[in-house]
């Protein structure tokens, strides 16, 4: 942080009206006391909040803040005194001419002495993402779920001893912070916009030794005790706050454990829907983000998950597949797709086709008819464990009737041209059922 963000407090002299003079009247260089990073995952955006103790003189003060080689959005800069707020008047924030990455606050103070202030701004270049590891029991009835977050810093800044918070949620942005950071003039200029000059963020190599030491120090502290992550809902978002502080140098990432839950009951769900998946059966792991499943305290941020399975007493694992999933609210059902499989088979076969119920025009032509199809659905579970199978059938018309034969399963109308059959199959079990679909055409559909 100290590398590029520089903050000077300058006190204006009586004759120093011009901005050029004011900028060389350096009086103190206040040290940053704390820094807090609130990092978003739906946008390239981080809210930075710093506490600094300024030494002000009674009267007019000029405070200079510069941020060369960073990705700070200067239009987001804000400063508030956290004490003596009624005695301190922030007159304006000026971005002087022909100087880049520099802001100048004009402050009128009624007091002389140390004044703590809070400076906030938005920056680009910090990000985080969630990822997960699931480990199924041998019988695939329960799963251990481990969540992690990975925080990356390509902002151009070394953030030392920062409180790190992460936001889960989708915010509305009308400008990308990185674009605002690259503007030549903070608010642009009137008239057609000129081509933006792109500042080069300093190469990470130059700071690597120091950064590496800082990372190693932080990791040693981490190893002593896993950090807790506090989770709470705010507005439409979830805020994850990591215990203590973190040092994340520019160019580095850091992985942190988010949560670990043992023995989540899961259902092996297999889906078949020709229009969506082709002639393949897709395997899902199904559970719910609720108390019954030892979850449900917070939503689960979207991310990727690698699923393994315990295959022996000696804790050997098999890799079952990888799934990407979206944000899961509390109490929402979860279905993790693990891809197509061949060990559960769904085979629909057209067994009979005929037409019937013809209607005719006065001129003798056909004006309406029915088509009757008899389907056999064979489901086969070749696995050693019971599974749940969900079969969706889409009809190309909205005028239809269905007759089901067989003594198991139920069908549910999903929408006007889709039905869903749900079956439970035991280990190595085969089930067959028929359904007769009658579709109406021409005047028969009226």
């Amino acid at each position: 942080m100290k590398r590029k963000l520089i903050f000077f407090a300058t006190i204006a002299v009586l004759l120093g009206h011009s901005i050029a003079i004011a900028k060389v009247d350096l009086v103190i260089l206040p040290k940053r006391d704390t820094v807090q990073l609130t990092i978003y995952n739906s946008a390239d955006l981080t809210l930075v909040r710093e506490q600094r103790a300024l030494t002000l003189k009674s009267g007019h003060n000029r405070l200079q803040f510069s941020w060369a080689n960073t990705l700070i959005d200067p239009t987001s800069l804000d400063m508030l005194p956290t004490m003596h707020a009624d005695k301190i008047d922030i007159l304006d924030l000026a971005f002087p001419p022909r100087v880049r990455n520099l802001g100048l606050w004009h402050v009128q103070s009624q007091i002389s002495g140390i004044v703590p202030v809070e400076i906030t701004y938005l920056t680009s270049g910090l990000s985080w993402r969630a990822f997960y590891m699931g480990t199924l029991s041998t019988d695939e009835k329960i799963m251990r779920l481990q969540g992690y977050v990975r925080v990356s810093n390509t902002s151009g800044e070394d953030y030392e001893d920062a409180q790190v918070r992460m936001i889960v949620g989708k915010i509305n942005l009308i400008d990308q912070i990185a674009d605002l950071a690259r503007r030549q003039h903070p608010y642009g200029r009137p008239g057609p916009p000129p081509a933006a000059a792109i500042p080069q963020v300093a190469e990470a190599e130059a700071v690597m030794p120091k950064a590496k030491r800082a990372l190693e120090r932080a990791e040693k502290i981490m190893l002593a005790k896993p950090k807790e992550i506090r989770k709470e809902g705010l507005s439409e978002y979830f805020l994850y706050s990591i215990e203590g502080t973190e040092t994340i140098p520019h160019g580095w990432s850091k992985r942190l454990p988010s949560f670990e839950v043992h023995e989540i009951p899961v259902v092996n769900l297999y889906k078949y829907e020709e229009e969506r998946y082709g002639n393949q059966v897709i395997r899902f792991l199904s559970f719910k983000n609720d108390k019954d499943h030892k979850l449900g305290d917070t939503p689960i941020p979207g991310g990727t998950m690698k699923v393994y399975r315990n295959v022996s007493e000696s804790a050997h694992l098999s890799y079952e597949g990888r799934s990407s999933f979206k944000y899961i609210p509390v109490d929402e059902d979860v279905e993790l797709s693990l891809g197509s499989v061949a060990n559960v088979i769904v085979k629909p076969t057209l067994m009979d086709y005929k037409t019937d119920q013809y209607l005719f025009h006065n001129n003798g032509n056909i004006s309406g008819w029915d088509e009757i199809r008899d389907f056999e659905i064979e489901t086969k579970n070749t696995r050693d464990i019971p599974v749940k199978v969900e079969i969706r059938r889409n009809f190309k018309t909205k005028s239809w009737d269905i007759t089901k034969t067989g003594d198991f399963g139920v069908y549910e109308k999903v929408d006007l041209d889709t039905v869903k059959f749900t079956l439970m199959l035991g280990a190595h079990e085969v089930k067959k059922f028929h359904y007769i679909l009658t579709t109406h055409h021409g005047r028969r559909a009226d």
Binding site: F95, L122, I174, G191, E236, L239, P329, E332
Partner: protein, 382 residues
């Protein structure tokens, strides 16, 4: 405003000689620059910035040529006006001339006597304007907000302005100094505890119906509403259009950024609506469950000329939040229709648009079922 603050606009006055025939001779700059009085930058029109400056002219009896020229700045020459403020009954503006190949004009002024007169010169100056930005910090309960508005002055006009009056379309003018290529951000509105309303909107025409089939979450847009009325601590003047950034107190003496939107001008009595982001904890799944022809009428050739469709829409609305929410659901039924049955009260927005206000308790699930008939006229009726 002192003279040296104007680097690129010059203003001279000369006395025309009777026999001077060419405009070039008439523009001999032989008289000292007139003293400048007050100057004002008017920013009330967001499309153009009007500069008004006052000067004292020392006029001779008879014809005077007053030369106004500029360099390195962009002035709309047709916008330049001269108003005589004193002795106006004895001073007559005869003509305005534009010299060739120059950014300048010459006023020909007839004065009945030799004296000093105060004049005001107005012109539209390019590349100087203002933006408005807002910063709102909502409380943790999202019922009230501290609302600040900033005026951002951008001066890329080529001129340095020192100690000029700056005027928006309301309120007092204020003195400000701003150099060429300088940008300044000034706080001009700061209201605490402004009431806010929060609402969620599902528009069936804009959002997918079946989120389960999508790889990404379908967010329900979340909007804050601020009323520009006196009871809200506002309502004194229109809120100018600009970018709004919204934050929220987090209960730990810090804030989070909720989102941003741009707002257009909000007149007194109207609402500012700020779309901050999407809720993924309210999920709407909508299906059409029935679409069947009924009441089919045929012509003598047995062709369908008129029929209705019997349609059923079913929407499941789930609130996974720890808080209750009020969802505004917008549904669209095209053409001629009659509602047969609907389990939720609605308001007709127009002939084809229905709006439902659905209160969603914490962790609840509700269902909307619309059963309606639509009339369909076949082209065969002809």
């Amino acid at each position: 405003m002192t003279r040296k603050s104007y680097l690129n606009i010059t203003f001279t006055i000369g006395v025309a000689l009777l026999f001077l025939a060419t405009p070039l001779h008439a523009r001999i700059k032989m008289v000292a620059l007139p003293e400048r009085g007050d100057a004002t930058i008017r920013l009330d029109n967001p499309q153009a910035t009007l500069i008004q400056e006052e000067r004292i002219l020392t006029l001779q009896k008879g014809l005077n040529n007053v030369d106004f020229s500029w360099k390195g700045v962009s002035i709309d020459a047709d916008s330049i006006r001269l108003a005589v403020l004193t002795h106006s009954d004895k001073v007559t503006l005869i003509s305005v001339s534009y010299p060739p190949h120059e950014a300048a004009l010459v006023w020909e002024i007839y004065s009945e006597e030799a004296f000093e007169v105060a004049v005001r010169i107005s012109y539209l100056l390019s590349n100087i304007d203002r933006l408005i930005t807002y910063k709102g910090v909502a409380d943790k309960e999202e019922t009230r907000m501290n609302l600040k508005s900033f005026l951002v002055l951008r001066n890329f006009s080529g001129e340095n302005f020192e100690d000029v009056s700056v005027l928006l379309d309301h309120g007092q003018s204020f003195k400000q100094t701003i150099s060429h290529e300088e940008t300044k951000q000034l706080l001009f509105l700061n209201k605490d505890t402004v009431p806010i309303e929060k609402f969620w909107t599902f528009d069936a025409r804009k959002l997918p119906w079946d989120p389960e089939k999508l790889d990404s979450n379908v967010g329900i847009p979340v909007t804050y509403r601020i009323k520009n009325v006196e009871t809200a601590g506002l309502g004194k003047f229109a809120l100018l259009g600009g970018k709004v950034r919204v934050f929220q107190e987090d209960g730990h003496k810090s804030t989070i950024f909720l989102g941003e939107d741009s707002t257009s001008l909000v007149p007194v009595g109207e609402n500012m609506e700020i779309y901050i982001g999407d809720s993924r904890d309210i999920v709407v799944t909508q299906h059409k469950m029935r679409d069947t022809p009924i009441n089919v009428r045929r012509n003598r050739k047995n062709q369908v000329v008129l029929y209705d469709t019997d349609e059923v829409i079913k929407a499941a609305i789930e609130n996974f939040k720890d808080k209750q929410a009020m969802l505004t659901m917008v549904q669209h039924i095209p053409g001629q229709w009659d509602m047969e049955e609907c389990n939720v009260q609605y308001k007709r927005i127009d002939a084809y648009t229905l709006e439902f206000e659905i209160a969603l308790p914490t962790h609840s699930k509700k269902e909307l079922i619309m059963h309606y008939h639509r009339r369909n006229v076949s082209d065969r009726r002809k």
